[in-house]
Amino acid sequence: MSTINYSEKIPNNVNLADDRTLQRALEQWQPNFLSWWGDMGPEGSPNYDVYLRTAVSVDAGGWAHFDHVKMPDYRWGIFLTPGVADRQISFGEHKGEAAWQEVPGEHRANLRRIIVTQGDTEPASVEQQRHLGLTAPSMYDLRNLFQVNVEEGRHLWAMVYLLHRYFGRDGREEAEALLDRRSGDENNPRILGAFNERTPDWLAFFMFTYFTDRDGKFQLSALAESGFDPLARTTKFMLTEEAHHMFVGESGVSRVIQRTSQVMNELKTDDVNKIRAAGVIDLETIQRYLNFHYSVTIDLFGADHSSNAATFYSSGLKGRYEESKRDDDHQLNGQSYKLLDVQDGKLVEREVPMLNAMNEVLRDDYIRDSVAGVGRWNKVLEKAGIDVRLSVPHKAFNRQIGTFAGVRVAPDGRLVNENEWKANEAKWLPTPEDRAYVASLMGRVVEPGKFANWIAPPAMGINRQPVDFDYVRFN
């Protein structure tokens, strides 16, 4: 007898109720997932009733169901955007062929690697954020954190579904391994660097959801173009949820800036010490956090020159951002792309075959998108009459992967020597003192409608509810 009522417990549109093999795989995996959630999910939260959005179907009506639920009872579903009949692969060497409904043998290893790498980031961020609930600046923000967490959990499910359904035994082993690795664990870390960093405070959390979840958006967008149809459809649906995470980041940082501006205007000062004495986060510290999260995140796109990236594209596994909206031959043979390089102590451009620069192409699209949002933060400053502006650092700044690893570049793009770097590092990246100061502001504010002093309330609540709605019931 099956222990799970499938359509009820696991809302899905993959016909789970009739797929015995998949059921057996998930029956094994689900208890392990729940036990991982218990160990590594949001600390102290299992009994809270949280006002969460649950996807119960893929159409507009079932997309966003709101209700108070306990997180361990959250209905992690499996959803694929409805398929397009006769969909064709839209790029690479297989362009114009029918999209694959099963994994082609020659691409099996690469596809598995892509899915595992994506899947690994999902539980990783839940682990990184598990202590944040203890220092939430408001009940509203606490709810948003939990929403992000359960949706990362669902994204893990989405990837595990693909592994179980299409990759047989090694898929099942990889799915188990996704629950075994731990963010920041020396012996068994998560796969990507940024997902082993700590998310120690809420400013870091907002920066992470703005910058690092945006990497997720671009990776998912590229995979949503994949010739492997189930992957394309799965990631396409994940994108709709990813939007909430970036909202949390963008509006979170925006509200921090708004509050700081307000205090600067009240005190008529731009003196960091006075601003800190008033208990809000100075714009310099915000800029340094931004520099850190931006530079760590653009490393996630991988080496600027990559034959793997060329293979992924040519073989139709991973496209470009908005591939189908681009007006070119979608094969890119013979085309070139300009990369930055270091020559004789200067940054110079060099042309490389575009196929080998696919990571850079995606990174540059990401950069454009990130810069636009920073511009919206600056509008908050502009509106408040403060003439400081935030900006993203040069893309060669503080890089650990690719051409610029080990090269010292200032935020304005100047190559600097080690001495100059050392002398300025504290101006450019968050210092232990900055982090200690931000940490000192992190108290727990969870009375409905109340907000910590360092952050402004949001313009509106969730799902048309008032800002002071009881988004979380602690029981």
Binding site: E8, G61, W63, A64, D67, L239, R376, K379, N463, P466
Partner: protein
């Protein structure tokens, strides 16, 4: 329509550029490709948007849910919207035109698809998740007989407080009489009240909409009157102190006072007339008004041998804040099956209508199985999600597939959602 309107007024859908994060979800969701973007903003094409609301709930920010009343000929073009840093204020020419040319605003219920162009502030009908059609046996309603330009004057014939003096929640039962002027209504319809006076910048107050709490043959049977259930608003939706213009006006009315009324509105949230139909009613607070009207109609016309059942889930914060508590609990059990849910009773766990529904899952399931069941939900915004979720869970628990049932309920005018 009352004659040709020289100027057409449109409730234009706009996206707030200060809150939008440009995530593309709305553009991806829009079934008619009304949404587009440039490097600066996401915008809505006024001539394409059909107000289907499919984009509203997927939006992670709430920036999508903005509307401005404009003259159709002067709708904001997408080129103009691309340049915005913030939303424009409500254009006064258009709202003045609206006041002068009432048909556009008072045309409530004439067409569900045109739902946006209608009705005064106050009540939202969810036509995405509920029906856009009335039950097949519903009485044919009159709508828009009286407009901003030509309101009907009603006389107050009664006004008393329904809730306990000990509670902060001040809910009134207000009776309005229309004398010899026709004002035909049926249960589930609403009316608009025009509060006297003007806003600080000199504009007339907008009309506010209230559901009718009495049956078609009058609050007092055989008289040309009706009743409203009005809660005095003392806080805005963020909990700050703010006196509701219209609710305070209504709650303070004395016997003999005159009130300007427009309407009636509503042509879908109506009750079935065939005696063997079942009503499943779920409401909170003053959302009880239409339920009271329907129940009272059924009580007066209780036919021998009719098999139609009434089931009511009624929620409030406490027993003292539940309007009509006394008369309600005195109704015979074989006439109406009532379950109350109180969310703030001291010493008791919070209990919401959806909790009460789940406790009665077997009986609710039995109703869901019957094609003669008509469902009505009325109350504060936000209750809808929980109630629909509970209905879905109960259906599944009873072995009924929800999605096909939901589609049938919507198609057959058997699921009606109204919130305010």
């Amino acid at each position: 329509m009352n004659g040709p309107a020289p100027m057409e007024v449109l409730k234009q859908h706009l996206i707030d550029p200060e809150i939008c994060i440009r995530c593309n979800t709305c553009e991806e969701t829009c079934p008619v490709d009304a949404i587009t973007h440039d490097a600066n903003n996401y915008v809505v094409k006024a001539e394409v948007c059909n107000g289907c609301m499919a984009c509203i709930s997927p939006c992670p920010t709430g920036s999508i849910d903005n509307w401005r009343t404009v003259l159709k000929s002067q709708a904001y073009s997408i080129e103009e919207q691309f340049t915005w840093d913030e939303l424009p204020a409500q254009n006064t020419t258009a709202s003045a035109a609206l006041d002068n040319h009432a048909p556009a605003s008072a045309d409530a219920g004439a067409s569900a698809a045109d739902n946006l162009d209608e009705s005064p502030a106050g009540i939202d009908v969810d036509t995405a998740r509920g029906s856009t059609l009335p039950p097949w046996s519903a009485a044919k309603p009159y709508v828009n007989l009286y407009t901003h330009k030509l309101p009907i004057v009603a006389t107050v014939v009664g006004n008393y407080r329904l809730t306990g003096e000990s509670t902060a929640s001040d809910i009134h039962h207000i009776m309005l009489d229309f004398g010899t002027t026709p004002f035909p209504v049926v249960e589930g319809q609403s009316i608009g009240i025009l509060p006297p006076g003007a806003t600080q910048d000199g504009k007339m107050h907008h009309a506010r909409q209230y559901s009718i709490a009495s049956p078609r043959d009058g609050e007092r049977e055989g008289y040309n009157n009706l009743s409203l259930t009005v809660k005095r608003v003392t806080q805005d939706h963020r909990g700050k102190e703010a006196d509701g213009v219209c609710s305070n006006y209504l709650c303070d009315l004395k016997k003999g006072d005159k009130v300007n009324v427009i309407g009636p509105f509503g042509s879908t949230f109506l009750m079935p007339n065939h005696p063997n139909s079942h009503l499943l009613m779920i409401c909170t607070g003053t959302g009880s008004a239409p339920m009271r009207a329907m129940t009272e109609y059924r009580r007066r016309r209780r036919l021998k041998g009719a098999t139609g059942k009434l089931m009511l889930f009624f929620g409030a914060r406490t027993k003292e804040e539940l309007p009509y508590f006394g008369p309600l609990v005195n109704l015979p059990k074989d006439f109406i099956d009532t379950t109350l849910a109180f969310s703030r009773t001291a010493g008791q766990p919070k209990r919401y209508v959806q909790d009460a529904m789940r406790e009665r899952a077997a009986d609710v399931g039995q109703m869901l199985r019957d094609d003669n069941t008509f469902i009505y939900v009325c109350g504060l915004k936000g209750m809808e999600d929980g109630v629909l979720q509970a209905l879905r869970d109960i259906a599944v628990q009873n072995g009924i597939e929800w999605d096909p049932l939901w589609r049938a309920l919507k198609r057959e005018g058997r699921l009606h959602l109204e919130t305010y």
